[in-house]
């Protein structure tokens, strides 16, 4: 004998006949409710069969094919005009950036050069020591000359004298 659930399912599918059907119907506690439930199940089954069969796929290839078709339909084909438009928009954005950068750089350089030119003389005069004037006693060293070197690289200023009176080595004493 089939268990109740199995017999219930078979009854819903109209698979019970003869003695099995009569025994099952006798075992139902509320026959009208069971009949109503069976009718509802049949109606739902019919609905599901109807709806699902419309979207059923036969195989994977068909599904993939359908999918590719869909993608192809939805992707717009690039026309010559469209391509030109795309290129044009890219061409405009990059040159604009380049132009902006170049102009900014040029302005920066102009101002930098201007400021440096203005500041350099003052900075150098502050940076290096300066000889304002120099005088050698013409009586003691009549042929003496003086010249000035400013070595910016070494930050040293040199007053260079020539023709001063030469002295013996004794004068090197501490």
């Amino acid at each position: 004998m089939k268990p109740f659930e199995e017999a219930w399912t078979a009854w819903l599918d109209d698979q019970l006949t003869g003695r099995e059907l009569s025994e099952f119907l006798a075992s139902l506690p509320d026959k009208p409710a069971a009949e109503a439930e069976k009718a509802e199940a049949k109606r739902l089954g019919g609905l599901l069969r109807r709806e699902l069969s419309a979207h059923s796929m036969t195989n994977e290839e068909f599904f993939s094919h359908q999918l590719r078709e869909k993608i192809t339909q939805e992707t717009p084909k690039p026309t010559r005009a469209g391509a030109r438009q795309t290129v044009t928009s890219t061409w405009w954005s990059i040159p604009r950036l380049l132009c902006t950068g170049a102009v900014s750089l040029a302005i920066f350089l102009i101002f930098t050069v201007a400021v440096m030119r203005e500041r350099n003389p003052a900075e150098e005069s502050q940076y290096l020591s300066q000889i304002l004037n120099a005088r050698v006693d013409p009586v003691v060293s009549p042929n003496a000359t003086v010249s000035i070197f400013e070595v910016k690289q070494d930050r040293v200023t040199v007053l260079w004298t020539e023709g001063l009176q030469s002295l013996p080595a004794d004068y090197a004493a501490k």
């Binding site: 040199v158 080595a169 004068y171 004493a173």
Partner: protein
């Protein structure tokens, strides 16, 4: 609150130290004998920063200090003397500016004035004066703001 107070104190200290260091600076002035010798002595520490320049300009391999003076300048109006046995360098500071000091320099051989010059000594730039030939060497006058 504590952080702000600490910051204010730190800034004040830095400014105080900075202004103090600006107000008082030391000028080193030296009479230097430059010579070429077989075994040169190490250069004095005061001349280390300009060693390369001295050797390149004057062509000597030994520089020895025969007289020197270190003067702490507070007003920029001080004067001082650096002397050796025969030479004397009189330095008369005649004012301080942001760039340095205006100095009147007089080189004496005993009591005889050999050279007089007026210079603006920058705080970042040493001043070197080529003096007379002494024996096989050369007398140099060097002034450096330390």
């Amino acid at each position: 609150m504590d952080r702000s107070l600490a910051l204010v104190i730190a800034v004040t200290l830095i400014m105080t130290v900075a202004s103090a260091s600006q107000a008082a600076e030391t000028v080193w002035s030296g009479l230097v004998m430059a010579e070429n010798v077989a075994q040169p002595q190490p250069i004095p520490p005061e001349l280390t920063r300009i060693e390369g320049s001295l050797k390149r300009f004057f062509g000597y391999n030994q520089f020895q200090v025969i007289g020197q003076s270190q003067k702490l300048l507070r007003t920029g109006q001080e004067d001082w003397l650096a002397t050796s046995k025969f030479f004397g360098l009189h330095v008369d500071a005649r004012g301080e500016s942001h760039a340095g000091y205006v100095l009147n320099l007089k080189l004496y051989k005993e009591k005889e004035l050999l050279l007089e010059t007026e210079a603006k000594l920058s705080k970042r730039s040493p001043l070197v004066i080529k003096g007379p030939q002494v024996g096989g060497g050369q007398l140099l006058l060097v002034l450096v703001v330390q």
